[in-house]
């Protein structure tokens, strides 16, 4: 049965089934969805912060080039790549990228799955490079979105490193789209992205191995591509005369292997480093800690039995990470890495402090915590409204390796905390608590003001202490007379508070040797007295206790602080490796106008552990401390970025919705002209309707119906009785002007007859 509607549908169907149209259609789908994301980001940028969002829009476009690379005009690099060797190089390079991510995260299961998917993807892409099946392409687009949904699932369910899983799985899925040379380059670029991710998490020098292997594969790809292009472009290939074919590429690679470290090393040395002033504030996309905070400090390493007296055991439990610090505890700490800290400036990593001493134990006189809610993407700790210059802050990032107490370690004077938690608790000493212990894999960042007070500044401090400092003058009844006298004796020539502090500190540093295992504390004795006058050796807590107590006898407010020392700095990874045995106690002394300033009376540690200088450049000393420019951003820019990141799910949903609507619109648009024609023909033009009706009658009369694949003329060739009416149908279907009345009459009178 024919009518214009069926004819139109046939045309549409032919167009859809056309392989050219199929592949174009799915490529358009992917392209428009990703461009929609970029457009939405640009819109957000225009609403908030123009250039930062614009940069992300550009990044999204670049990602779209990687993920949907079949865009743009035809050229050699966009033609299907038929070289197996090039594909193997690309696959190997991508695998190295995934391997590096798997190595740092130990997610071998995800790696294996991704590797298999990537291998299958490459095989399929190679096989169907000339004519990719539309189902495969649609499946790839769906799988890609599924991977991102997996990330959200992982975030909500506390899976380890969901973002890295996405990076690996997404690269594997995109393997099905690697048809052309440009696609293979894009695939390797995604592999480089995986390396980037691994670089941020890598803690050892193994990463350099992955990096060199990846570079080697990339260079081998380029060499091979140039070779193949040369052989393909030129019909005549000349080989050396009179000698065996020399594998010169090995010689080149050998020379390159020497030149690259030299050149790379030179570039590394002379490249300046803008440390401490990031454009993009710290972000963390993790499942938030939802537990409510309390004054309780939960220490996962707390042994079941608290040992008093001697212990040969070593472990990760530091008794200073508790609500009370018992000076009678003994025991060693292991060499286990507890966390990695990235900081442009050297510092101690502070947890909390104690203000009350009873002769054996330090406690917090007021254990209550103030609960703080998150302010957008961060916790704004700058409640005092301290005005700070941008040059004064630095950002630390803490990556937790072992289970740790629910204490947030910070450096300097923290002003912003970026952590995936709904609320935090802050105690009276400035210690920050979480609702649950720190888990391995957790990462948080702190933006702090540097503590960098000169002796001259501290010497000028007054003794006008605010009322809330009163607890830090507390002295136990167990303090002995000789302790008081010693303090007086040490500071009799010190004119200022600062001089007194230094005098006491230096005395402790010079007089008492450090002993990991001092004798157990005798009962009914004062720990400070025992340290100063009996044992005359001890661990950091003893030094600090003596320091604080003696300062308090001089009327100087001081407190004991626990936390970690800086740890060992790894120049390759730029991390401070903080181990269990870096747990430490030091003191803070209050100076009006300056706040709490750290001092450390323990031998072998930094006597004034204020924030170290922020290194700028390896040659900065050479140029006399050249000040490198810092890049300024506005709070508005940061707030917009934070807003976008914390509403990412809505934005992505909106983009997907826009993409679906757009696709539907395109499909409808494609049909529209045909529908219009059908409407015009069948509903609004009775002349054409009459002719088509006559044609239907004719077919019915001879019981010969036009097949879907036949044109009217082809059918008339088979059924010549319809030849006369077929001519009229052609006119009715395709002429712009409607058929005239004579044609209509002729059609109405038509009766099929044999020619």
């Amino acid at each position: 049965m024919l009518d214009a509607k069926a004819q139109s549908r046939q045309d549409v169907k032919k167009e859809i089934e056309n392989p050219e149209t199929k592949s174009r259609g799915s490529a358009r789908l992917i392209r428009w969805m990703l461009i929609g994301m970029a457009v939405l980001l640009v819109i957000v940028a225009l609403s908030f912060e123009l250039w930062v969002m614009g940069a992300f829009a550009i990044l999204a476009y670049m990602l779209s080039r990687m993920f949907a690379p079949n865009m743009g005009k035809k050229s050699r690099i966009r033609q299907p790549e038929r070289s197996v060797q090039l594909r193997l190089f690309a696959f190997a390079a991508q695998s190295v990228g995934m391997l590096s991510s798997a190595y740092v995260t130990q997610m071998w299961g995800v790696f294996l799955i991704s590797l298999v998917i990537l291998a299958i993807g490459h095989i399929a892409a190679y096989r169907y490079a000339l004519k990719p099946p539309i189902l495969m392409r649609i499946g790839t687009a769906i799988a890609l979105h599924g991977v991102f949904l997996w990330m959200y699932y992982g975030l909500l369910n506390g899976q380890p490193y969901p973002q890295i899983q996405v990076a690996m799985l997404a690269m594997a899925v995109v393997g099905f789209e690697l048809f052309s040379r440009l696609n293979l380059f894009s695939g390797m670029a995604i592999g480089l992205t995986n390396l980037y991710v691994a670089a941020t998490l890598s803690r050892d020098v193994m990463f350099i191995v992955f990096l060199f292997i990846f570079l080697g594969l990339l260079l081998a790809f380029m060499w091979r591509a140039d070779d193949e292009d040369g052989m393909r472009d030129n019909p005549v290939i000349l080989r050396p005369v009179g000698q065996k074919a020399v594998r010169q590429w090995r010689g080149w690679m050998a020379r390159f292997a020497v030149a690259l470290p030299v050149m790379g090393g030179l570039v590394f040395m002379v490249t300046p480093r803008f440390a401490g002033h990031p454009i993009i504030p710290p972000v963390t996309i993790n499942a938030p800690i939802r537990g409510g905070v309390s004054s309780q400090i939960v220490n996962p390493a707390m042994p079941m039995v608290q040992i008093q007296g001697w212990s040969d055991q070593v472990g990760e439990h530091y008794y200073g990470f508790d609500t009370r610090l018992d000076l009678s505890y003994r025991g060693g700490l292991s060499d286990e890495v507890m966390m990695y800290v990235r900081s442009p400036a050297w510092s101690y990593w502070r947890s909390h402090a104690f203000d009350a001493y009873d002769g054996r134990t330090w406690i917090q006189s007021d254990p209550s915590v103030e609960v703080w809610e998150r302010d957008g993407a961060l916790f704004d700790l700058n409640r005092e409204g301290v005005l700070w210059l941008r040059e004064d802050y630095f950002v630390q990032t803490y990556a937790i390796v072992q289970p740790m107490p629910n204490l947030v370690f910070t450096a300097g004077n923290p002003i912003h905390l970026y952590i995936a938690a709904d609320e935090i608790g802050i105690d009276k000493t400035g210690g920050i608590r979480l609702g649950e212990p720190l888990r391995p894999g957790m990462v948080y960042s702190v933006m702090s003001l540097r503590q960098d007070y000169t002796p001259e500044e501290l010497k000028s401090a007054t003794r006008n202490y605010p009322p809330d400092i009163a607890p830090y003058f507390q002295l136990s009844d167990t303090i002995t007379e000789r302790t008081w006298d010693l303090a007086q004796e040490l500071t009799q020539d010190a004119p200022t508070v600062y001089d007194k502090v230094i005098a006491v500190r230096d005395y402790l540093l010079a007089t008492y040797p450090y002993d990991y295992f001092p004798p157990p504390q005798a009962p009914n004795t004062d720990a400070v007295d025992q340290f100063l006058f009996v044992d005359q050796r001890g661990v950091c807590e003893h030094y600090v206790s003596a320091f604080v107590v003696m300062l308090r006898t001089l009327g100087i407010p001081a407190r004991l602080v626990s936390g970690f020392g800086s740890g060992d700095y790894n120049a390759f990874t730029n991390y401070y490796e903080v181990r269990a045995n870096d747990a430490h106690a030091w003191a803070e002394v209050y100076f009006p106008g300056y706040g709490w300033v750290p001092f450390d009376p323990t031998p072998g540690w930094n006597g004034s552990p204020q924030t170290g200088a922020i290194p700028t450049w390896v040659f900065s000393e050479l140029f006399g401390g050249t000040q490198l420019p810092s890049i300024q951003i506005d709070d508005a820019v940061r707030s917009g970025l934070r807003l976008m990141l914390y509403n990412l799910e809505y934005i992505v949903g909106a983009v997907v919705g826009v993409g679906v609507l757009w696709f539907a619109y395109r499909v409808w648009r494609r049909r529209k002209p045909i529908q219009l024609r059908w409407q015009r023909i069948t509903r609004h033009d009775p002349a054409r309707v009459a002719i088509f009706a006559a044609y239907r009658r004719g077919q019915k009369a001879i019981k010969s119906y036009r097949e879907a694949h036949q044109t009217v003329g082809e059918h008339a060739t088979i059924s010549p009785e319809l030849k006369e009416i077929a001519a009229l149908v052609d006119i009715a279907a395709y002429r712009t002007e409607p058929p005239d009345q004579a044609m209509v009459e002729k059609a109405k009178r038509f009766k099929p007859r044999s020619p």
Partner: protein, 392 residues
């Protein structure tokens, strides 16, 4: 010259450097430095990759010989690298002007060229067209290693070739055979055995031709040379019309002028075989024909170079008693008039008239009518159409 690939890698390094500064991840600094180092190392290693490359080209068997149109030819081209440094992925084109226009350029690729090594390329061709040819310099290009920097080197492999026009042996030119006369002694000085007279000695005269008796008479004060009577046959004057007629100068050899040159060469070959002294006359002041009787080799050398660039109508300088064979690539009435004048002077004239309308890119001229007109006026005429064998 840095390529886009170098730019892309450097941009990638900059992006990594930017993120390294933002995140202070030490490995990102290392990655950025290595990526930049890759480009710089590529530049360092690519320097001089094309240095020390020389070329050598041998045409035929290397022995100096004569080249004629349509001769099969073997050309060997050799590229050598001096020094220990190797090169690779060299692209170049061998451009052979002796080949047919559509087949002159052959792109070549050298995947490896080791130090103190060489590559050779041998190819066959049929020499397409007469002329003087010089092979152009070679441009070598490479992007090794890894395509970050493109280097180009032009090397000159000076190679010249002179290709004579095609000569087809004409079995017989009846016109000339009819005109054959015995050798006569003329009362003019020339080449012969009979002493015609004496003249003053001129430097260059053979000492055997000095008339010693006359010298003795003057007491040795003057030298006299014998003069011999001209005993040569009446010469053949070959006239070739080099006027710049329409559509005569093309790169193709299938045009009336090229055929006219072939006919002229073939006639000259016949004259050589028949011992006719041959004089060539043309109307091109840029490349004037050699004076006097010319050997066949000189004729070929002239015809190899000649081009239809004359600005004057054809001219025929005839010394009495000669036969004239004119080759007209175009039915020029002025040339026809000159030939008619020669006939009026009772000189035998044969005209080969090419029919331009029969050639590829035909001209709308009626050469047949022109030839008929000449024939009617006593000029023996031979109309030659494209594809015909004029030797018959």
């Amino acid at each position: 010259m840095p390529t886009g690939r170098a730019g892309a890698v450097l941009i990638g390094a900059l992006v990594l450097y930017f993120f390294a500064n933002q995140t202070q991840v030490g490995w990102l600094y290392v990655m950025a430095a290595l990526m930049a180092g890759v480009v710089f190392a590529g530049w360092w290693l690519s320097r001089g990759t094309l240095r020390g490359i020389t070329g050598e080209r041998r045409i035929g068997d290397g022995v100096t010989g004569e080249l004629y149109e349509n001769d099969p030819l073997l050309i060997t081209f050799r590229l050598s690298k001096r020094g220990r440094g190797a090169s690779a992925q060299i692209r170049l084109s061998e451009w052979c002007p002796l080949a047919e226009p559509s087949k002159r350029e052959t792109p070549l690729f050298i995947p490896q060229l080791p130090g103190n090594g060489a590559v050779e390329f041998t190819y066959n061709l049929d020499v397409y067209k007469r002329g003087m040819y010089q092979f152009p310099p070679l441009t070598l290009t490479t992007g090794v290693p890894f395509g970050f920097f493109k280097h180009t080197q032009v090397i000159d492999v000076p190679t010249r070739a002179l290709v004579y026009p095609e000569v087809r042996p004409i079995p017989r030119i009846e016109f000339l055979d009819r005109q054959l006369t015995p050798q006569v002694t003329r009362q003019t000085a020339g080449i012969g055995y009979e002493v015609f007279g004496l003249r003053q000695y001129r430097p260059g005269d053979s000492p055997r031709h000095i008339h010693w008796r006359s010298v003795a008479r003057t007491g040795g004060q003057q030298l006299f040379s014998k003069e011999f009577a001209d005993e040569t046959q009446p010469g053949l004057v070959l006239a070739l019309d080099l006027f710049k007629h329409p559509n005569t100068a093309t790169d193709s050899k299938h045009n009336p002028f090229e055929w006219a040159v072939k006919i002229a060469a073939s006639v000259g070959d016949y004259a050589r075989r028949m011992n006719y002294p041959l004089t060539l006359t043309t109307n091109d002041r840029t490349l004037p024909a050699p004076n006097g009787v010319i050997p066949f080799t000189s004729l070929l050398e002239y015809l190899a170079r000649v081009e239809p660039q004359g600005n004057e109508p054809m001219r025929v300088d005839v010394i009495g008693g000669a036969f004239v064979i004119a080759v007209l690539p175009y039915p020029d009435d002025r040339a026809g008039g000159i030939l008619r004048d020669l006939v009026a002077r009772r000189l035998p004239v044969l005209a080969y008239v090419l029919d331009p309308s029969s050639f590829p890119d035909p001209l709308n001229v009626d050469a047949a009518a022109f030839a008929s007109g000449l024939a009617a006026d006593g000029v023996e005429t031979r109309l030659v159409r494209y594809g015909e064998d004029w030797t018959l």
